[in-house]
Symmetry: C2
Subunit: 473 residues, 2 copies
């Protein structure tokens, strides 16, 4: 958004903060923070065979382990997000978890105090990355890359104080898509909005809206383009009344705007953007927001954020809690900050608030009582008889070698009932059973856990039969 | 490996070190390490519009960015590794990048000096994780989990000195699979060996061998089982002569061993393990190694490592460089170190040396001149005429909405040749072309980049035709 895109100091840290950490989330065990406690842990840990009374073992404040259940939800969501990024031609990129401390300096304004520094153990001074945008800009400048469409999924770290902002995570995942390069105006910007819509529609989280910061647009027009404040406010009136796509058309019908050269110039990019999002079929998802204007030091243009719209029931319960689930904006100056000669590479990008989305989806699954399978095992290898471990091992190796996901119990002589219960608990759909009789007849019993039906299959046809059943289900 | 599994202090840090970092790899820009340099960077960075002469922008020493090419190779390898872990019924788990400093204390022996500490910015004292095993044990103890089969793919950090050990990375990826729980002996251990074989076969890196540490086994027999050293050495003779699977049978035919109660007891687990790996069809891949005996403080039993065997040509060039690409072992005491009452959870696991494997595969692809596609774009949207941006945008949105991976140039009026060149450079197989004539006739031209054949397709049939072509290719 070149014409609108030269604001300085319009940042969006708190937006991203709000976006990327679920506001209601509670940190696991985030109570004890004194090094005395840590010392107690140390002392008690190293004497494992003594009785320990004050033993505290935990993850660091503001961090958590992800359980297998959470990992399954996460994997599904990240798959959807990444496949959308790839659908739009993005390349993958990875950067180190830490950067030279100086790389992060003066990029985040007052939020710089939240950066984790590594201890000076000799050598370079390092900090954990605070987002994925600054490392991307550093990569572009370092390798003199002038043009790139990339995505990056990775963790970032921020020393948020859980006592100040309840429930913010200090370690969380970001999913970023960015387009770097000098292009004709508004085409990449519109694609970023399209990507947000595709992802949010795909995730089926309910209705959503993408809000563009009117404050940023106005500041741009007045401070950078020299538009008279009263003309900008005239535009603001339209923004306030109409918000969305009909806005631009109506403004052009107002002679006080359409006959004002400055106003027309200021409106040019907005017009293009609305034209493109209309062609993309997402115009009704875009509107202006009068209160939004936030960000990190490096943002240079209008920023936007996506919010989920509450259902009528939710609106009654907590009318203010429209959750922000994605955000983006232009940062045309950041790469130049790393370039020896200050050469700029204009960039526009977006970040999907996956942590927020994870917790919404988890909550939904809980509400609907959906049981999440934490393994993908397709076949369980069982025997009703003693001394059949050898046969079970031979059989399971056949299945593994055929690419079939299979498990058995690590027990010499497990009871059949124990083995069948395991399948039911873990949601394993098929059981193969080998016993004396089967061995004699050269068959294996194939059992469906759901229907409890069993059929005898010739050993040599077993793999094919299993693959057939799995492909049908 | 319970009977063999109570060694203490037999660690394998240097093995893992060797394993997980490609020895020949060179760190990007790992030359400048003084904070003076960093200060110069700081000063120059913050004055982007001045001429900068001493500007140095780099990743931290021992770290590197992964380019899109590298990311593609990495993704393919990790997919294969993770799908093998899932085939064996493993659940996913994730832990924070840093732990309480005390969690890592006294787990890594003399390698503890390589742990990255975070600066004390108030609150807890934290360290970056050094591997994925200690966080897993911490998770089990913290949540009182007695039984779990999990995999974890993630980065770990070690302050290796590149001046001492040339080319070691300080940030690298680990892929771990572990089985925690009390089970009948040797069944999980054999499955770990099977997994190593499946992954190394699947990756088609050439022939390989898994070597078990004889030193650990001998120490176990003598120090823990009270076997007379001369009997242990008698066993050692067999190890030296035979190495692999025939070993155990032959030993049992030697009356000096088969009539010695201690020897029989000491050999029991070994016998089981060789029986199981034979049933798994991988016995010929396993052998003893007389020099191997390394590890971290927490390892309690025999350790094993997988090495690639050189081809005859390689053997001539560099006969000693058999590369280690996976390692594993038993650590029955680690979880107990975190438990207030010292309750133990026996564990066995393995780690795939993916960094080493990445560089081998990259090298192979370079040698064979394989061009790596860094995007997955299937269709390019082009126009031969001016003022067709609107039509291109409308068309590409249709493709995206149908799940087709599509790109266009962010230019109002690109030349057709430029657009077709882009497809050839990026390896995009199909182009859809819209122009005046096509618009008039209600068709779109579909072009195969390879054959340069073009056919006109009715607009309403375009998506179906593209999907058909993509499914055929």
């Amino acid at each position: 958004m070149p014409q609108l895109g030269l604001l300085h100091g319009r940042a969006w840290a708190s937006l991203l903060g709000k976006l990327l950490r679920p506001p209601g989330a509670v940190c696991i065990g985030a109570v004890h923070s004194h090094s005395q406690v840590a010392e107690a842990v140390l002392v008690s840990q190293l004497k494992p065979h003594q009785e320990k009374s004050n033993f505290i073992i935990k993850t660091p404040k503001g961090t958590r382990d992800l359980t297998p259940q959470q990992m399954v939800v996460r994997e599904k969501i990240l798959d959807l997000v990444v496949s959308c990024f790839k659908r739009h031609g993005a390349k993958g990129l990875d950067t180190p978890a830490f950067e030279l401390k100086e790389v992060l300096t003066e990029k985040y304004g007052e939020d710089s105090g939240l950066i984790y520094d590594l201890q000076d153990q000799g050598g370079e001074l390092l900090s954990l990355r605070y987002d994925l945008t600054v490392p991307f800009a550093r990569y572009l400048a370092m390798n003199k890359v002038k043009k790139m469409k990339r995505y990056h999924v990775g963790k970032v770290w921020r020393r948020e104080s859980p006592t100040v902002v309840q429930g913010r995570y200090r370690e969380f995942c970001q999913c970023d898509f960015d387009i770097a390069g000098q292009f004709d105006p508004m085409i990449p910007d519109a694609e970023c909005l399209k990507i947000m819509c595709e992802i949010l529609s795909g995730l089926q989280l309910g209705d959503f809206l993408i809000k563009m910061s009117w404050k940023d647009v106005r500041h741009e027009m007045v401070a950078k383009k020299g538009l008279a404040p009263e003309v900008a406010d005239r535009i603001g009136d339209y923004v306030q009344c109409h918000g969305g796509v009909s806005l631009v058309e109506q403004m052009f019908q107002d002679p006080r705007l359409s006959q004002n050269k400055q106003a027309l110039e200021g409106l040019g990019d907005l017009k293009l953007l609305f034209e493109y999002v209309t062609l993309f079929g997402i115009a009704e998802k875009i509107s202006f927001d009068l209160s939004l204007a936030r960000g990190l030091d490096y943002y240079t243009g209008v920023v936007y954020e996506a919010v989920l719209l509450p259902t009528p029931a939710q609106a009654e319960e907590e009318p203010l809690n429209v959750g922000s689930v994605a955000a983006g904006g232009r940062y045309d100056g950041l790469v130049g900050m790393f370039d020896p000669k200050g050469h700029k590479v204009p960039c526009v990008g977006l970040s999907i608030g996956v942590e927020r989305i994870f917790s919404i989806v988890e909550q939904k699954m809980k509400t609907f009582g959906e049981k999440i399978r934490t393994t993908e095992t397709q076949v369980f290898v069982a025997s009703p008889q003693k001394n059949f471990l050898q046969e079970r091992l031979k059989l399971i190796a056949e299945l593994w070698d055929a690419g079939i996901k299979a498990e058995l119990l690590y027990k010499n002589n497990p009871k059949l009932l124990t083995q069948l219960h395991y399948c039911e608990n873990m949601g394993i759909p098929l059981v193969v059973i080998v016993g004396e009789q089967e061995l004699k007849e050269g068959v294996i019993k194939l059992r469906s856990v759901a229907s409890r039906e069993e059929v005898a299959i010739k050993r040599e046809n077993l793999v094919a039969e299993i693959q057939k059943r799995l492909s049908e289900s």
